[in-house]
Symmetry: C2
Subunit: 201 residues, 2 copies
Amino acid sequence: MLTRERIVATAGALVDAEGLDALSVRRLATELGVQGPSLYNHFPTKADIVDAVADAVVERVDLSVFQEAPWHDALRRWAHAYHAVLTEHPNIVPVLAQGPGRRPAGLAMAEAVFGALVDAGWPPARATHIGALMRYLVTGSALGSFALGFDIDPDLYDRYPHLHNAPRLAAHHEAVDEGAFALGLDLLINGLLAQFEGTRR
Amino acid sequence: MLTRERIVATAGALVDAEGLDALSVRRLATELGVQGPSLYNHFPTKADIVDAVADAVVERVDLSVFQEAPWHDALRRWAHAYHAVLTEHPNIVPVLAQGPGRRPAGLAMAEAVFGALVDAGWPPARATHIGALMRYLVTGSALGSFALGFDIDPDLYDRYPHLHNAPRLAAHHEAVDEGAFALGLDLLINGLLAQFEGTRR
DNA sequence: ACCTGAACACCGTTCAAGT
DNA sequence: ACCTGAACACCGTTCAAGT
């Protein structure tokens, strides 16, 4: 028996294991023991299945911090949590980088972030910029590893002397990408905190 | 007559006008007045055509600033220039977000950025983080408009009270996205500059 | 109400055949 | 050396037919 839940769970596992390109209607149907067209009884298009997979990932990001901590602390902890979830499901990030659209969990997350900033006293226009900035950093870093973006063939770097150690990046890719994300988040939040306190006195 | 140059130029125009999904081997061939398989005399796979289109975009980013200005100034001006080029060719950004790979212009850009940071005195590990951070911000912001990521249907936001103005974001999307990017770049570079001067004394 | 087989209009890629 | 037609193994989606 086919249900939306089973379809989304199987599609999500397929995307995690083999990437977005491996998710085809026929392939997903086979995995569910059914023929391709059957899925159209439960979702209008393949894009809706992909959206549901993406929203299931966002649903796993804890938003309770926004009720517990001051805005800068909550923002930092939420960004780390969001980043951690995306690191576990990197193949769906291209969808999330397009914004919440009509996805309920995406909208709930935007509401929590934007609401916390406005309630803390940030002007709405500034809160929008901060929200955008956070999405840029989190999805930008999750979309493709910086370290793995360099080929491991050493001969490739003969004409780029400063990059002679680039082939070694791949071996430490988690540490490199994690460190860059943490540095960026620190710089952004510390800078915002300084601005915030500057306007308060 | 088919040349790599003509193929890349036509493919780039097609991607700009209709998106990456519209670029198919048959469609591109038709636009070039030729049959699909002909393209395989000039490129081994479609992915190589896409890579060439991406590298042609990166080639348009001016790197001369790194010879003229102190690292923080050069970094800021380069990031703005890169961001401006991507804003003109948003549909190819998903490819650039995967890193330089084996693309010559991508590698030359990485060499210029990393080289300038190391030559200025940043430790290589830190320079790597800074380079990664810049790619996260620039590609993250170019990959999908934050403002256009929200649906314009006002009824959608009934259950998200803080987002009641979200449907109006689309009308000012350039200003919103531009402002968020500029804010992020300022925060990052000012923060890095403070760190740099802190270690110098 | 839900699943199927057949069909439509597409894909990327290979390869023998032409010039 | 370069282009073509035919073919292979795929796509997303529609729809009449079955239960």
